[in-house]
């Protein structure tokens, strides 16, 4: 199943749907999705790089490269490949305004 984002869902379709916001837009995901899966099913990037112009979308998915730390509206960052999405999460692809 092709998504609005980068990834394609190939299996495990029968899971419950849940909702989160991505840069303020309401999006849906499936229970058991990692934050990375959820974000890339709704968009094409996870974050911008602090050092380069290219946006980033993760790299190793096993907690080794640390490429996929993303911002939440309320502050704490999370590693998107190892954290599971939960109902009502408010995720950002850029730092919250209070940070800048």
């Amino acid at each position: 199943m092709i998504t609005a984002g980068r990834i394609v869902r190939l299996a495990e379709f029968g899971r419950a749907q849940l909702h989160f916001t991505l840069d303020g837009q309401m999006c849906s995901a499936l229970a058991g999705d990692t934050v990375l899966t959820a974000m890339l099913a709704s968009g094409h990037v996870l974050r911008s790089s602090e050092f380069a112009p290219e946006p980033r979308a993760g790299f190793c998915l096993m907690g080794a490269c640390q490429d996929c730390w993303v911002w939440q509206q309320e502050g704490p960052r999370i590693r998107a490949c190892s954290a599971l999405i939960t109902e009502g999460m408010r995720l950002l692809t850029t730092p919250p305004e209070s940070w800048l």
């Binding site: 990834i7 899971r15 899966t37 946006p55 993760g58 190793c60 704490p76 960052r77």
Partner: protein, 455 residues
Amino acid sequence: MSDASSPKIVIVGAGPAGIRAAAALVEAGFHPVVIDEGNRAGGQIYRRPPDGFVRTPEQLYGSEAAKARALHALFDRLAKEARLTHCAGSSVIAVHEGRLHVLGEGGVQLVSYDRLILATGASDRVTPVPGWQSAGVYSLGAAQIALKAQGVALGRRIVLVGSGPLLTLVGAQLVKAGADVAAVLDTSSWHRQMPGLWDLAARPLVALRGLTLRARLGRRYHAGVTLERIETDGIGVSAMRWHDTGGRQHLTPCDMIGMGWHLRAETHLADLAGCAFIYDEQCRQWLPKIDRMGRAGNGLYLAGDGVRLLGADGAEITGRLAAAACLADLGLPTPSLSADLRKLARLERFARGLARAFPWPAAMARALPDDAVVCRCENVTAAALRESTGFGGSEANRVKSLSRIGMGRCQGRYCQLAAVELIAARIGSTPGAVGRFRGQAPVRPAPIGAFLREG
């Protein structure tokens, strides 16, 4: 024996090596503590999806399903019977004076040990391809984890590049799952793969399975390619530019690239624990120095792909050996190990064959164009690295200080091997002489809040 006077044995990692080590210690009457980053035991290769997923082990692990089932069931039983302590979702971020600094939900805790078994596994060994810092470029392991643990492909049209068993395996798994795999590009030529065959025959079934998987890739598979550049548009990967053995140019449109050349041992904790290292010419990387059983000295033992790159079957064996060494050092009887040691020798011969047939592309790393990004964390280019050698940077850690290579968020895990080749080429030396980046704590990012104590 698990009373207060019993030595405390801690295992880091709950993959095949960690699980086998834990089981052997439980068998001998100990109550080991197993610390693992995963939420469920299994490691990366036998990684289990979250609750609520329905595919069977046969669908997830194919020919290896029985091994995965056995390991999962064994560990779950020992945990349920409280014969070991499982610290899931926890990262060991430092080792200092006999204590582990463990980052979990509740912050950083100190865990002391009398004996420590490190089974920290491996990740993909990668080398930069110009453009690899773009969104949509992943490791081969990432592509496999996405499929196994999430049921997704990381792109609509996929190109896989690299060399080694995982290249073929991930390609075949994605094709089978219904992903659109446009090309599988192997940097090793047929000519190069032939001399490895003799040693690969040490595991005829595994070698045959590899060939069968490759056959499934059909015309997607190309051997002996040269990778030129990853083309990008505003949001990420748009195509892979490469040429074949005949020198013909190809531009394969895609939105995802998976890359990997076999494995790189995860050695940061071994380094912090004080292990000596040797440069392994066969694996083309620095590995912790151990004896045949996995002893590194001072009550430290190593097992699995974090020290010997033999894959999951080898990890089960070396996990048992490390536990046996630990027991022997405590003056306790150990089970007979002759069968495991025999199997180990066979796996080592197979690994030699793999290393020969699917070599690390040192020449490709050495010839990276100046504008190519080597460190994708902090955007350090090949030019910046080459330039830094002119300021006395002939040793890996000098170049690190001068250029910031290896100082980014991955701590050099994905750039180090290519960087060392580049430096060696620049100064007319060898990777072994250039050295390795020293490991630094914390080996995972930790928020300041994790170190704060209330009151």
